[in-house]
């Protein structure tokens, strides 16, 4: 992973984490705020409903009082106060009163609780309703479970007594708490009311109604209703409907004897708040996403801006490493990166100066070495020449009779040494004139075998202990593209070096193999070996460890290998021989 990538990932991670954290905090705070707002709204709605419920109770009381105050009611009370009253004429009165006063329930009851007339159950005349005698002075409306011909309903009832002739005529009027009543309530938007009639020992879904009829999803509200039935106090619960949440406040409805007659559920829809919260969450998520993308973009820009100079530095370093000493880093910033770039440029400049100095020193050293070598190489043949000439001079002066004989011998010596000088000069000339390789398909194994055959006699020569050649040619090596003359020359130099390294005899191992699409050639000897310092300088031109070497043999080998885009290395330790390894590309 690059520095830029790491920096980009770090920046992006920081942005994402920050954005996610901010979004989460906003989400939590929004939810809490909305929940508090919803609680306040629900409380307000419930309070509104209570006021509406109380208003309906007061309205009911007023209507019943209006009936009780009617002259016809008073007349009826007077008639019914007589001994053995006749109820028959009034049997339909309650129905008429209920219709006239828009009441669901109206009953006229005699002093002893006998039902004189009933609007809700006309056929129930003559039966007694003992409950009406519980109080002499009825005041507020109350809830009552009212029995009807085919059902029992929950009702809001008010009672007023009309006194006449020392007895009371009770007027009981009321509303059925049913879907009609629920539908008639003036409720704020987003609110609905459901009524559970507690007429069964266990929860019954059929007993739960709303303004539209039997309530849908009643089973979901069962736990809340059961809670109110058990605890006899208000409870709140939020129900998650498919179209959104709804908070229900359940209010127990108790009768005169504190018996639980029903449960009123005031539902406050949280759909709008939930939708608003969802929109905010969505917008927050969108902003976070946008922020993350923007952050990633800025991170990329910043990373690029920060790592650009570093990349330039790296590129400059690579160029310098590749030999382009003119490479420079152009960074204009004044920060640490700019300082680094300037230091880099300065370092390159210093390196160039050092290199130049080094090259100058090396050049001087090389010339000195060349001069020393030339002097050494030329001095050897010159000294015999000087001795021979001096010998001739002395023979001329001191032994003229032997001069001819001496002259012939001296002339031969002079010619031999001149030939030696010519050879030395030819070697230097050859090294200087190393031609460019002429590449052609070459069988390296065949070159190796040819070289061994060429040197076979020399290996077995009596001038030194015999050297045993060992060949290990890879049959799968195949052909490579190379200059056969130069490769042969390099191999000859290595074999000559090996022979020189083994004056006491030994083994010359030559091995070829193919690896990683390259041809490998190893030439090993079992000679006295080389020190580490010798290995490092071994390929320097004119450097030699031999008494009579020119120091050009391995330099020529290295030159040939380099011209073929190959590599050469040496591995050696003192007393353990040396191994030269050459790698040549196939093409």
């Amino acid at each position: 992973m690059t520095f830029r990538t790491r920096m980009l990932v770090s920046f992006a991670l920081a942005v994402v984490v920050t954005a996610a954290l901010v979004t989460w905090v906003v989400s939590v705070m929004t939810r809490r705020t909305f929940e508090q707002a919803d609680d306040r709204r629900t409380a307000t709605l419930v309070a509104q409903f209570r006021r509406e419920f109380e208003r309906r109770q007061e309205d009911l009381v007023r209507r019943v009082e209006a009936i009780a105050a009617m002259q016809s009611t008073l007349d009826m009370a007077v008639e019914l106060s007589r001994p053995e009253p006749d109820y028959a004429p009034y049997v339909n009165e309650a129905g008429a009163l209920a219709a006239a006063h828009a009441l669901d329930l109206v009953e006229l009851l005699a002093q002893d609780g006998t039902i004189v007339s009933s609007a809700q159950w006309p056929a129930r005349f003559g039966y007694k309703a003992e409950w009406v005698k519980e109080q002499a002075d009825w005041k507020d409306a109350f809830l009552k479970s009212e029995e009807l011909p085919n059902e029992t309903v929950l009702a809001m009832v008010a009672v007023r007594a009309v006194s006449a002739g020392g007895s009371n005529l009770y007027v009981a009027g009321g509303y059925r708490l049913d879907r009609g009543f629920l539908g008639s309530l003036v409720l704020p938007a987003g609110m609905r009311v459901l009524l559970y009639h507690n007429c069964e020992p266990r929860f019954s879904a059929q007993a739960l109604t709303d303004a539209a009829g039997p309530a849908r999803g009643a089973e979901r509200l069962a736990p809340l209703i059961e809670q109110v039935r058990e605890e006899r106090r208000e409870a709140t619960r939020t129900i998650e409907w498919p179209d959104g949440p709804e908070t229900f406040q359940a209010i127990p409805l108790e009768g005169r004897q504190n018996e639980l007659l029903g449960v009123l559920l005031v539902g406050s829809s949280r759909r709008e708040l939930a939708a608003l919260a969802a929109r905010i969450h969505w917008a927050g998520g969108l902003a976070a996403g946008f922020g993350i993308l923007l952050g990633i973009g800025l991170s990329y820009w910043a990373a690029r801006r920060l790592t650009g100079p570093v990349a330039q530095l790296a590129r400059g370093a690579r160029e310098v490493a590749a030999g382009n000493w003119n490479a420079r880093v152009s960074v204009a910033s004044r920060d640490e990166i700019g300082e680094l770039a300037r230091a880099f440029n300065s370092m390159i400049q210093d390196l160039i100066s050092q290199r130049d100095r080094l090259l100058q020193a090396e050049r001087v050293a090389a010339w000195r070495e060349l001069a020393r070598r030339l002097a050494h190489e030329l001095k050897n043949p010159l000294f015999p020449l000087q001795i021979t000439i001096e010998t001739l001079q002395r023979a001329k002066e001191q032994a003229p009779g032997e001069f001819d004989e001496i002259f012939r011998e001296s002339a031969a010596t002079l010619l031999a040494e001149l030939a030696n000088l010519k050879t030395i000069i030819g070697r230097f000339s050859d090294f200087a004139k190393m031609p460019a390789p002429q590449l052609e398909p070459v069988d390296l194994n065949e070159i190796v075998r040819g070289a061994v055959r060429l040197f076979d006699a020399q290996l077995r020569a009596g001038s030194h202990a015999p050297i045993a050649p060992e060949l290990d040619c890879d049959p799968g090596l195949g052909m490579i593209r190379a200059d056969p003359e130069q490769v042969t020359r390099a191999l000859h130099n290595l074999i000559l070096n090996a022979i020189d390294a083994m004056p006491a005899g030994g083994t010359l191992r030559i091995r070829t193999r193919r690896a990683e699409d390259r041809a490998h050639l190893e030439v090993s000897d079992t000679g006295q070996g080389l020190t580490k310092e010798e290995c490092e300088r071994l390929f320097t031109p004119y450097y030699t460890t031999k008494r009579h070497g020119t120091g050009l043999g391995l330099a020529i080998v290295q030159s040939v290998v380099a011209d073929h885009h190959g590599k050469i290395s040496v591995e050696s330790e003192p007393g353990r021989g040396a191994t030269f390894r050459i790698e040549l590309p196939e093409g």
């Binding site: 028959a88 159950w121 005349f125």
Partner: protein, 406 residues
């Protein structure tokens, strides 16, 4: 004049248009009508009537013996003429009062297909909800005082009462609960003898109908007196038997008393029964509800409903006077219990035994005998008798309007 059409229009129920050979007066005695004299053989199965001379139908055609024979023959009797007399073979002994039965009225179809009678009024116009009667100028007993009678049908009780109070109607049909208001508005109340039976009828084939104890318990659980006193405003009689007292003379022998304790003993674990009543009859629905209240105390739960199929039906059955035997047979037929009605021989005792056997099956539970009730405008005048026969038919020929009144 305006009436509510409480029953289908039948020629026999319009004696002011269609007359019988004889008629019953207010005392129940047989009086000559289209026939001025009659005789019968010893068995009471062969009757000979001498028609009133020079009689004509409303369209002017003469009242011939053949026309009378044809009209009477439509009732299953064998009829013919013998000189000036009409001969009727009844196939069974009958009383002369049976010839006063409105269903034995005499009529012919005119050339235009309309029904032609001989009564004091003729049918001048007939529409779906309105009929107009015009005075028969040639009526044998003298032209009626009224020139015409307009009859409006299909009006509710409330509409009729309102029309009476506004002077837009002179005679209206009343329910028991309307009487008080009609009286308060100044109307005179005309009431017939009880001519309608209100009863509970078990639907054959249903499980409840086959439980004799349940049927008896249900009959014993009903508080007829309370219903009669309150819902029917004492207009009628509690019925233990099918025929009213005025017609049979033995109705008081049937008990109509409630015995809730006995009812509770008879029944245990009764199923929920359904009781249907006429959806258009509000009074019947209230009575059905009351019956349900009564039976609940006896442990029998009744679910009342307006119309539809049910275990029980609260029905009204018109009692066709004037003779008890045929009336009872017809009542049994209309209540679908003819198979339970058997009379061993002539005479009232046999009739009583037959009726008791029928009633004690409790497949039909008699509840009330109800009269026809009409409210008459104060300007509608009459001599001594009201414009309503004891048997419930209108008697409009002796009425007139007091034009002096507003």
């Amino acid at each position: 004049m305006e009436v509510r059409a409480a029953r289908a229009l039948e020629v026999g129920e319009w004696p002011m248009v269609f007359e019988t050979l004889v008629r019953l007066d207010e005392s129940g005695r047989v009086q000559p009508a289209l026939a001025i004299s009659w005789r019968h053989d010893a068995s009471g199965q062969r009757w000979q009537f001498r028609l009133r001379p020079n009689m004509k139908f409303h369209d002017g055609s003469p009242l011939a013996g053949e026309a009378v024979a044809a009209a009477l023959g439509a009732n299953g009797w064998t009829c013919g003429t013998a000189g000036p007399e009409v001969v009727v073979q009844t196939g069974a002994p009958v009383a002369v009062a049976e010839f006063a039965d409105a269903r034995r009225a005499v009529f012919v179809r005119g050339s235009d297909g309309s029904l032609q009678g001989t009564g004091p009024f003729r049918l001048a116009q007939w529409e779906s909800r309105r009929a107009t009667l015009a005075a028969n100028e040639d009526y044998w007993a003298g032209r009626p005082f009224l020139d015409a009678v307009a009859i409006e049908m299909g009006r509710t009780a409330q509409q009729q009462l309102l029309n009476l109070e506004l002077g837009k109607a002179d005679l209206i049909e009343l329910g028991p609960n309307d009487v008080r208001r009609a009286v308060q508005s100044g109307a005179r109340i005309w009431t017939s003898a009880p001519v309608t039976l209100m009863a509970l009828r078990f639907e054959r084939g249903r499980p409840a109908a086959e439980d004799a104890k349940l049927r008896e318990a249900l009959a014993l659980s009903i508080d007829r007196a309370a219903i009669l006193n309150v819902l029917l405003q004492r207009r009628g009689e509690a019925a233990g038997g099918l025929l009213p007292q005025w017609l049979s003379g033995y109705a008081m022998l049937f008990s109509a008393a409630r015995d809730a304790a006995r009812a509770r003993q008879l029944v245990t674990g009764a199923p929920l029964l359904s009781l249907a009543s006429d959806p258009a009859d509000a009074l019947a629905r209230t009575i059905a509800d009351r019956i349900a209240v009564n039976t609940r105390e006896a442990g029998i739960r009744l679910l009342t409903q307006a119309g539809g199929n049910a275990d029980l039906y609260l029905v009204r059955a018109r009692i066709a006077p004037p003779v008890a035997g045929p009336a009872l047979a017809r009542l049994a037929a209309s209540l679908e219990v003819s198979d339970l009605f058997h009379v061993s021989g002539p005479g009232l005792e046999s009739l009583y035994a037959g009726e008791r056997a029928l009633v004690e099956e409790f497949r039909v539970i008699p509840l009330f005998h109800l009269p026809e009730i009409y409210g008459a405008s104060p300007r509608l005048k009459t001599w001594a008798t009201p414009g309503l026969a004891r048997t419930g038919e209108w008697r409009l020929d002796d009425l007139w309007l007091d034009s002096e009144l507003p």
